[in-house]
């Protein structure tokens, strides 16, 4: 298999894993992490699916990373605020259930 | 000038209205000046317009509104009739309302909406196509709503809700019908004898469109079974009831029916489609049903409300009988009923304001205490019954004759029956008012010195009923509504 195709398929895999965690995890930091994983997946596909080295996708990925960093920073600040203001780092409808984590009370 | 005169007629009530909204409550003199000034100015402009039309001038204002369709204000004979009716009665109601609401709170708001309401009515009268008519029809709903809920009670809110539910429902029917029609004909301009015939459109589709459109305007015209809002709206102050029932809303609905039958479909085409007969039957049922309901109402305004439901359907009946003479009867009743009914509501308001009398059962001997008001009421009631020389007789005469002319003899029975019912619910009031001894004390009497009531409350009903009396006595002279209507009706039929 072509090395680049491996990257692309990994990227798709990351997307799927990230989406799964985003929906099913209750803790907000896990959700933010999930989105980051998904973002990395997209970047992998972007760079990995091409044939020859191509400056355009590389430029796009760099921009994308910058955007993702800003978005993550905002998200984490918001999570912190929620935890301070409401006592728990979750959204209200998720409080009772974390579909993947049996140890959550 | 030709394009601006219709706009100025609109502005003569719109601009004072907007200014009045801004006035503080205490600015009575300024508000009164604006109100009356606007009303008088409107009448002056209308006289100018009538002179112009008489000399063959065309007044039209056109503005593109949506792709392919214009907003059109146009002064033809029919619109002038309705505009004049509105303008004159607006003046009378303004005088009355000034007296009636003396000392009440929120008068600036009231008169502001009042002026907007009349603007909408006048715009509706001058609408030159179905789109413009629709615009003002909805505007009328929106501007009359605050008047219905003016008192701020829970009952007023509920009445307003019912009013809106009915009128908005009618509005969407009218919208749906208008768009549907436009998609088939590509035009919506009102034309004498209609613009639908001869286009090869499927008659079944046309019948459905007719039903939708008529139901849409029929809500405001209080045709059965869409009349429910009218008795409930009596919770509003008397000037509002007077305006709604004689001028604005109900007549707008009736006017809509007239326009749709004559200037959209064309009366002879509509008859050939077979839609006029069901409409006539619906009108007849409304007439009888509402008159019967009126018999059982003790609240005076509610009795008059049901009487309105019944009387406005005379107009519909006249239109639906689809003969030239019946048309005259129906159209002229638009004017006659307006004046007679407004008189009755003015009087009802007087009884309530001066003596706290709201019910028929409280009206014993009221004729002795308020002779002029009761006198006006009596004459107007005779007009409703259709007794000569009152002008109501003229309308019924033409309606009956018109029915016979086209072989719809059953309508004469309806008219006769309705006259009997009218007598049944008016004559006892007259009898008890004039011939029964008055009670020890009235529910809530206000004294006006030696006058029976305030001038502003007394003069309007006397003037409006005097008009109806004079038109009845001098019916064949030029310049009466009858004369004007004969001119209009002739053009709606093929020569």
């Amino acid at each position: 298999m072509n090395g680049l195709t491996v990257f692309a398929l990994t990227g798709v895999g990351l997307l799927v894993i990230g989406l799964w965690a985003l929906v099913l995890r209750a803790h907000l930091i896990r959700k933010v992490l999930a989105l980051n994983v998904m973002g990395s997946g997209v970047f992998l596909v972007l760079v990995g699916a091409g044939a020859a080295p191509d400056p355009v996708p590389q430029a796009m990925v760099i921009t994308g990373i910058v955007v993702t960093v800003s978005a993550t920073a905002l998200a984490l600040a918001l999570v912190l605020r929620i935890d301070t203001a409401t006592g728990k780092p979750t959204l209200p409808e998720d409080r009772e259930r974390d579909l993947m984590d049996e140890h959550w009370q | 000038m030709n394009a601006w005169l219709p706009l100025m007629v609109l502005a003569s009530s719109l601009v004072p209205g907007m200014i009045i909204f801004m006035l503080p409550e205490k600015a009575v003199a300024l508000r009164t000046t604006l109100n009356l000034g606007g009303a008088v100015l409107k009448i002056v402009l209308l006289v100018l317009m009538m002179i112009g039309v008489f000399h063959g001038v065309e007044y039209e204002f056109r503005l593109p509104l949506v792709p392919g369709l214009d907003f059109v204000l146009h002064a033809d004979a029919l619109s002038l009739m309705f505009v004049n009716l509105s303008a004159v009665l607006w003046l009378a109601t303004t005088v009355y309302a000034i007296g009636y609401l003396e000392g009440s709170p929120h008068r600036s708001r009231f008169f502001g909406y009042f002026s907007l309401c009349v603007t909408a009515t006048v715009g509706l009268a001058m609408a030159g196509n179905l789109l413009t008519f629709l615009v003002f029809y909805e505007a009328l709903t929106l501007t009359t709503y605050p008047l219905v809920v003016h008192r701020g009670t829970e009952a007023a809110r509920k009445a307003g809700r019912s009013y809106l539910a009915h009128t908005l429902f009618g509005g969407v029917l009218l919208l749906a019908g208008t768009v549907w029609l436009y998609s088939l004909t590509g035009t919506l301009e009102f034309v004498d004898r209609g613009f639908i015939a001869g286009r090869g459109i499927d008659p079944d589709v046309l019948r459905m469109i007719f039903a939708v459109l008529i139901l849409g305007v029929g809500v405001k015209a209080a045709i059965l079974p869409l009349h429910g809002w009218l008795p409930q709206a009596m919770v509003a102050p008397a000037p509002v009831s007077a305006l709604l029932h004689a001028v604005a809303v109900v007549k707008a609905g009736a006017f809509g029916i007239v326009r749709i039958v004559f200037d959209v479909f064309g009366v002879e085409f509509a008859a050939s489609l077979g839609v006029t007969l069901p409409l006539a039957i619906l009108a007849a049922v409304t007439i009888i049903y509402a008159s019967t309901r009126a018999l059982f109402q003790d609240d005076l305004k509610r009795r008059l409300a049901f009487s309105t439901v019944s009387q406005v359907s005379y107009i519909t009946l006249g239109v639906a009988i689809a003969g030239p003479i019946a048309t005259i009867g129906g159209l002229v009743h638009l004017v006659h009923q307006g004046f007679m009914k407004i008189t009755l509501f003015f009087c009802a308001g007087n009884f309530a304001e001066t003596l706290g009398v709201h019910k028929v059962s409280e009206m014993r001997g009221i004729g002795r205490r308020m002779p002029w008001t009761m006198g006006a009421f009596t004459l107007a009631a005779f007009g409703m019954i259709g007794a000569p020389p009152m002008v109501g007789f003229i309308s019924k005469w033409y309606l009956g004759l018109g029915a016979l002319e086209v072989g719809q003899d059953w309508a004469v029975l309806v008219l006769a029956g309705s006259s009997l019912l009218n007598a049944a619910y008016f004559l006892p009031i007259l009898r008890t008012a004039w011939f029964d001894p008055p009670p020890e004390s009235w529910p809530e009497e206000r004294s006006f010195g030696r006058k029976e009531t305030a001038w502003a409350l007394l003069i309007p009903p006397v003037m409006t009923v005097a008009a109806t009396l004079s038109w009845g006595l001098f019916a064949s002279m030029p310049g009466t509504p009858l004369d004007w209507v004969q001119f209009i009706a002739a053009r709606k039929y093929a020569p």
Binding site: L15, M38, L46, V56, A71, L78, L91 | P146
Partner: protein, 479 residues
């Protein structure tokens, strides 16, 4: 002098001015309000200048820094962009003037609001002028981030939750969109919209990326059933923020959707009908929920959910006369921006006056705040599609399109939707005229706040009269 004015890079300035304003307001927190307001006026001016440039000179392009695509950034302004820029300028100016007064008592909020708001405005102006799909991603992301921060500004628990939910949905939507961009690039070798339009032929190579992008955008627009985040976010934000969110931010994503649709002109009936059906559900669901609300701001927020549904009804109607259907939808979008903005501003004033926003307890607020109530009523008239208003014109065009093609169900959806909208608007008005048995606090509300709401509402009504002059702007843009 006039030549210089005419040739100045207004397109770039429309983005740079609010950006600079945001930075300055951030660096000088004590002067944030004044810098913010001046920045707002200048941004509005630049946007209107672009409009004039397009009206008189036709669509134009601008290469930022002189570096062209594909590594540089190209700006493109045509009739649709100009219309959106103007819409943002009008609503933005009104909101800015309102916010200046509304936030006067909270210096903490003031120094955070202005940078974020101007940043949002910059993102919007950039979005409306972006010419390639990746730039659209960047601007979309920026827009989402600043909007989220604005929601969080309120500081309460519900607002923070609403902001978090909005952020998560927004990021997910952007990622979906980005997936589409990635696929498009690898399949067709370019990011430029015009070139993509020429190269993409349809079939799976177009369907999959476009599908991903549309899914992402639907999340960001808040179309049923992806609307769940919208009422909490729009309902718990401060009044000027809600006005921006409902009026402008969701329109950004919708604009993007339209651009993609016009560029690629997807064939087939399935997708348009699906979009139209989702729109119909949005209309019904949003309106019914609005009727059930007890709080004014939530009612207005659910109204947004419903009104957004209307915009999508154009999709199944665009077969016969595209200009008519799309023109109607776009006109509805612009009218909604003004009307909904006015409605939120008015609601904010009413809330400030009485200290609460419970509908059943409005207690004849028409006496105390006639201007705000007039603004609310006029805005409601436009939303319900009653004449005369921009909403009526848009609705009429869509109805005409539906009737002309015999597509009754869509016409019925719009008509019933109009009745439902009028119902919940008048429910509020009914209570506004009625006395309440309970006593309430009474605060003074500055006139500026009431007037901005009213003028914005009058703008929505005025749109009902200018359609014959505004719609020709869209010639050449619509398929």
């Amino acid at each position: 002098m006039t030549d210089w004015l005419a040739e100045a890079p207004w397109m770039l300035l429309a983005i740079a001015l609010p950006l600079l304003g945001a930075l300055l307001a951030f660096l000088r927190p004590h002067r944030a309000a004044m810098i913010g307001l001046i920045g707002a006026f200048m941004s509005a001016g630049a946007a209107l200048a672009v409009l004039l440039q397009v009206v008189f000179g036709g669509p134009r392009q601008y290469e930022v820094g002189g570096w062209g695509a594909p590594l540089g950034i190209n700006l493109w302004a045509d009739g649709l962009s100009a219309m959106m820029l103007a819409m943002t300028a009008v609503v933005g100016t009104a909101v800015s003037i309102y916010a200046r007064v509304y936030l006067a008592d909270s210096p903490n909020k003031v120094r955070r609001f202005w940078p974020l708001w101007l940043f949002t405005w910059a993102a919007l102006n950039a979005l409306f002028q972006a010419a390639d799909v990746f730039n659209l991603y960047v601007t979309l992301e920026l827009l989402g981030l600043s909007a989220v921060a604005l929601v969080a500004l309120t500081g309460t628990g519900p607002a923070l939750w609403g902001a978090m939910r909005y952020l998560l949905v927004s990021l997910l939507g952007s990622l979906a969109y980005l997936v589409g961009v990635v696929l498009l690039y690898h399949l067709h070798g370019t990011l430029d919209l015009t070139l993509l339009g020429e190269r993409a032929d349809g079939g799976l190579a177009l369907a999959i990326p476009l599908g991903a992008m549309i899914a992402g955008l639907l999340l960001k627009i808040g179309l049923f059933p992806f609307h769940v985040w919208l009422p909490p976010a729009h309902g718990s934000a401060r009044a000027p923020v809600s006005a921006v969110l409902s009026g402008l931010v969701v329109k950004g994503a919708f604009y993007l959707l339209l651009r993609l649709w016009f560029t690629f002109s997807p064939e087939g009936e399935g997708l348009p009908i699906l979009l139209g059906s989702l729109g119909a559900f949005a209309v019904f669901w949003g309106s019914i929920q609005a009727l059930r609300q007890e709080r004014l701001k939530l009612l207005v927020a659910y109204s947004t959910v419903a009104q957004l549904g209307y915009l999508f009804i154009a999709f199944p109607l665009a077969g016969m006369d595209p200009a008519l259907a799309w023109g109607g939808s776009i006109y509805l979008a612009v009218s909604h921006a003004l009307a909904k903005g006015a409605m939120f501003l008015a609601a904010g004033s009413i809330m400030m006056q009485g200290g609460h926003d419970e509908i059943a307890e409005l207690d004849r607020v028409v006496d105390r705040m006639p201007l705000s109530l007039a603004a609310f009523a006029l805005a409601g008239i436009s939303l319900a599609g009653l004449p005369p208003s921009g909403g009526f014109v848009g609705k009429w065009m869509l109805l005409q399109s539906a009737m002309a093609q015999g597509l009754w169900p869509w016409a019925l959806v719009m008509i019933v939707g109009g009745v439902l909208t009028a119902s919940y608007v008048f429910r509020v008005l009914g209570f506004a005229f009625t006395r309440s048995p309970h006593a309430h606090e009474s605060h003074n509300v500055p006139h500026t706040m009431e007037w901005t709401a009213l003028l914005l509402a009058l703008g929505a009504v005025l749109l009902g009269f200018v359609a014959p002059w505004a719609l020709p702007l869209l010639d050449g843009v619509l398929p």
